[in-house]
Amino acid sequence: MLLQISEPGQTAKPHARKIAIGIDLGTTNSIVASVRSGSPEVIVDAEGDGLVPSAVYYGEAEILVGQAAKRKLMLDPINTLVSVKRLMGRGAEALHSLGDEAPYRLRAEAGGMPFIQTRQGDISPVQASAEILKALAERGRQALLGGSVEELSGAVITVPAYFDEAQRQATKDAATLAGLKVLRLLNEPTAAAVAYGLDRAAEGTIAVYDLGGGTFDISILRLQQGVFQVLATGGDSALGGDDFDMAIAQWVMRESGQSQNLNPQQQRQILQLACQAKEDLAQQSEVEVQWSDWRSSLDRAGLQVLLENLIAKSIRACKRALRDAGVRAAEIDKVVMVGGSTRTLAVQAAVAEYFGSEPLTDINPDTVVALGAAIQADALVGNKPDEDMLLLDVIPLSLGLETMGGLVEKVIDRNTPIPVAKAQEFTTFKDGQTAMVVHVLQGERDLVKDCRSLARFELRGIPPMVAGAAKIKVTFQVDADGLLAVSAEEVATGVKASIDVRPSYGLDDKTITTMLRDSFSHAEDDMRARALREQQVEADRVIEAVLVAMAADGEKLLSAAEYTALQAELELLVEVRMQSAAAEEIEAAIERAGKASEDFAARRMNTSIVGALSGRTLDDVEKG
């Protein structure tokens, strides 16, 4: 079979518009959005509702997600999971974050991740999130592709900026389980800035103030020449609208002489009352508050006093972020508001005062993140080849290693731009030592016990030498999603040490594969069909990418012999892709073609760099 490679300058395939979605995977509600006819839109259900409650119900035979699951919350609380985002990538100790009343039966392996016992078995937070993602993707697929067999090209999923590596990895694992191709994990504040920024095509420095129910995020970004660069990110993972409600509730209790001993039901009632008062004060200047036979009124000034300390805490975090970014408050051109709690007027006033400019509130703070994710997803699948937009993000928390005495030595500082790779040298302390353990942590504190444990790596196969003679270079690489990869090598001998990764609170690859298999009721056949489909899609990606590259630069960057050899490899891949029904065979062919084209790919990138810097075209560069 002969492969058609078009002439340089022509695209190898007619450019088809690809369908991609943006997902805001929230604690309480999730949203899926997509760019349709040029502008981002939230995808709504038949009732016109865009919010999908982040709830999963495990019934006798079925799994329900969203509104249908939320309706089961009161009837069957043990089998209805909510707020699982709080447990993502966390250890069993994070369970208290669900409140004392979480009715779940839990199983936590010692020091490991928590599982929730349902009638359908033990469910990890990753699995429950995967169900939500599946439902969102299906909603997107139905709306965008209807009954067609075509699949989504991929998804951008947003995560809080403060999410550590384990929490990001858990989110990506959930997407893998849901069968979604993740184009990028995007920080929520960055997504919000995209939703605002691209509309206006502005240049300047932007602050994104994101106050949700339980967490506060602040990000400082710079938009220049179409590049969105995150300069610094910070926040407070225990500050949000729930604290506002608590402050108002305490005021009610103080004023009404209510004793502190409320039963759980009364607690819920008084918090609900407080929340209602807070929300009403965004619309009207004064509200009546009534608690049993006590009655009073609360106005906006009164609310401001109650919330003063909490809001001041958020402003302090803004100061820190500005300092990290090396930017003064007066230099901020625009402030973007995200999260339902920014509807509180006292918050808007404090933010306006600190930054000296009125915050932008014209996009609904509940949907702005999903809309930004949709815009980014659309750009990533190549639907906007003319727009030069690029997002450069940072690592939100420092990465470090455990050293002697329970101390942490930082390897990568917070707010370092990603992707990043850093190498660290270790040595052996015993003669003939052939293995060592490396403990990776994330956080800003000096002591191991105050940081989050990400993983332990066991390096094996170190050549036996006298103590201190072996030098093991361990390279930590953080990709554009904020995910970590580790490799190790003995410097003198070049021997690669093998690494066993044990995520502290995550799932290892084997577990994910098992879960994938278990998630198919008709096990083997489904599993095989899906694996085959995945390899076919990956093969298509590789074929298209290499074809486009060869059409553009093949004649310039490859010798005639190299060109023919690469063409032959690609033809082989096309043949296997078309004829084989075995996923492993296609995978092997992809690997071969990938290897054969890697040098060409590197040459292209090198050449494009030279061209970009000199402002000349590739042709000019080649001609010298």
Binding site: R184, R323, L380, G382, L390, P419, V420, V542, A545, S608
Partner: protein, 176 residues
């Protein structure tokens, strides 16, 4: 697999201590537009991995070229000198005395009722000193006196540590 260039070559800059920050930032954006993994979001996994490595290399080069101390270290390393300053013995007693005096001033800030203006003065002083050291380094390096340049660089390391601590003290005092 990596870009076969040193940091200066990668950014298309002359191998010199003087670097134009605006040009550097502009080239950083230009280069990332070419190599960032988002540019290859729908290409195969191998191309993605390659892009991650190259984008990391661009970021690493940017970090080194942006920081005077790291840039100095790098220039001397390219010239074949050892830049491990952990066991470096400082010869210049006046410099060490001055550094100790600055440290004392920093400690005094902590017990002041209104440290703001003293803090600003100290920050300005440390900054001036740092600028001087950078000039010294640049001068000696450009005329090829690498051993003297290394002496200035050792002082820059010293001064940078002080600046970092001062920045921590500032955060504490101003309640960031």
């Amino acid at each position: 697999m990596s870009l076969d260039k040193n940091h200066f070559q990668l950014f298309g800059l002359p191998q010199s201590f003087a670097v134009d920050k605006l040009v550097l930032a502009e080239r950083q954006r230009t280069l990332q537009k070419e190599v960032h993994p988002d540019r290859f979001a729908t290409a195969g996994e191998r191309q993605q991995r390659l892009a991650v490595q190259m984008a990391a290399q661009v970021n690493q080069a940017f970090e080194v070229l942006s920081s005077p101390v790291k840039r100095g270290d790098y220039l001397l390393e390219l010239a074949g000198l050892d830049t491990n300053f952990d066991s470096y013995t400082h010869q210049d007693m006046d410099f060490l005395m001055e550094q100790m005096a600055l440290r004392d001033s920093m400690d005094e800030l902590k017990s002041m009722a209104k440290p703001e203006s003293a803090l600003d003065d100290l920050i300005a002083k440390v900054d001036r000193l740092d600028q001087q050291l950078q000039q010294q380094f640049a001068q000696k390096f450009e005329c090829g006196d690498l051993d003297s340049a290394k002496g200035s660089l050792a002082k820059m390391h010293f001064s940078q540590k002080l600046a970092a601590e001062l920045s921590r003290v500032e955060a504490e005092l101003l309640d960031y």
